[in-house]
């Protein structure tokens, strides 16, 4: 060991520190076993920052307007798929397809998005671009 006597301290630190880092686990928070969900609504807010962008949508469900949010892939990866901070604007009507949150909240992990006329926003992910 490189620092005699430090091993036990390092172990204790590791097992008690809660060494969280920001990139939350997709597998833990989103349900890939269930069907992809599609929601259509009007953009209320669009944040395009790492580690994940977030689209806030006003969605009509029955007679009510409810707020859904969709988390995107890393914007630095999305840029290579044709996205930019100007891809969405408040008031745009779009459809988002994604995986539902495991906790049942109105929160998705976005897989793809299309405009009201069916035009895809950006390009589809490749097998090595998502996480």
């Amino acid at each position: 060991m490189r620092r005699p006597g430090a091993t036990l301290a390092a172990l204790v630190l590791t097992l008690t520190c809660g060494c969280a880092f920001a990139h939350h686990s997709f597998a833990v928070f989103f349900d890939t076993d269930s069907q992809l969900r599609k929601i259509t609504g009007v953009v209320k807010e669009f944040r395009f920052t790492n580690p994940h962008g977030v689209v806030t949508l006003a969605v009509v469900e029955g007679n009510h307007e409810v707020i859904w949010r969709a988390e995107t892939n890393s914007p630095s990866i999305l840029r290579r798929r044709g996205w930019s901070p100007d891809s969405l604007h408040v008031g745009d009507r779009i459809t988002i397809e994604g995986w539902p949150a495991r906790d049942g909240s109105k929160y998705l992990r976005m897989r793809a998005a299309t405009r009201a006329n069916g035009e895809p926003i950006g390009t589809a992910p490749t097998p090595v671009q998502e996480k």
Binding site: A10, H24, F30
Partner: protein, 272 residues
């Protein structure tokens, strides 16, 4: 040019200017040439494992098959054998702790970061190699001059890396890593983790092939190895990551009965 890229360029230029002039050096042998890893490399999980690299992996090592988009669900560590204390720790893992303003932009160590689905960019000289990761703006410096870390060298997310060439393969040992995740599902390595990487080019020079072995006897009864490959893409650079901690505001600690399940029935596949 980003600040980090500028610093790298300045460092490499400074190194070149400090080198002895060729006219003052006796010519004793032909210069040693090594493969050139310089350039922009994007992760490609479709590349088959390189059997020659895999044969060099030490015994008692589990192959950790989570490179790129794949992720293990809670409770699955891909063949790593956890010691009792580590098992107890992962049982107490709360994934929402990743999503607080304090933690929202905390990078992992290179143990997890190198296999992420983000590109890397390499700047190479004879005395050191710089690997700039897009993921969390991480920058690795790999010394090739045989130096060792000072006794008080601090731990960090990139640690201290020393490399040497074995033929056309670059062998890199890294220590001094801060405790951080191994598999992004509650298993953390200690500060005594030791990482051994081997890098080489494919015969056509367009694919960078690597194995990443790690051992941490304080928490693991065996060792782990990942296979990682990147494809070269000309004319590109890694983008700034510039993490925004405001992302944490999208998550709040739920009531205990609403927390994600501790175990899921099947391994999660990439969200494509």
């Amino acid at each position: 040019m980003s600040r980090i890229t500028a610093l790298i360029a300045i460092s490499l230029a400074g190194l070149a200017s400090c080198a002895p002039q060729a006219s003052t050096q006796p010519v004793t042998a032909a210069p040693v040439t090594h493969p050139d890893f310089s350039g922009f490399w994007n992760l490609d999980t479709r590349v088959p494992r390189d059997e020659a690299l895999m044969k060099q992996v030490a015994p008692n090592t589990a192959f950790i098959d989570d490179t790129g988009p794949k992720e293990f669900p809670a409770g699955d560590f891909g063949g790593l054998k956890l010691k009792p204390a580590a098992l107890e720790a992962v049982g107490k893992w709360n994934p929402y702790n990743q999503l607080t303003p304090d933690n929202a932009c905390k990078p992992p160590s290179i143990v997890y970061a190198m296999q992420g689905p983000f590109p890397i960019e390499i700047f190479q000289s004879e005395k050191f190699i710089v690997i700039k990761l897009e993921y969390y703006d991480m920058v690795r410096l790999i010394f090739l001059d045989g130096r060792r870390p000072e006794s008080d060298f601090p731990d960090s997310d990139v640690g201290f890396s020393s490399g040497h060439w074995e033929g056309s393969t670059l062998v890199v040992e890294t220590t001094h890593l801060e405790p951080a995740t191994i598999t992004n599902n509650g298993l953390d390595h200690t500060a005594d983790v030791r990482v051994l990487e081997r890098f080489k080019l494919s015969p056509d020079g367009q694919t960078l092939l690597a194995t990443q072995e790690f051992e941490d006897p304080a928490i693991l009864d065996n060792r782990g190895v990942r296979f990682i490959a990147w494809r070269k893409q000309a004319g590109q650079h890694v983008f700034p990551y510039e993490c925004d901690p405001g992302f944490a505001g999208n998550y709040s600690q739920p009531a205990p009965d609403k927390k994600p399940a501790a175990k899921h029935p099947a391994r999660s596949e990439p969200p494509n």
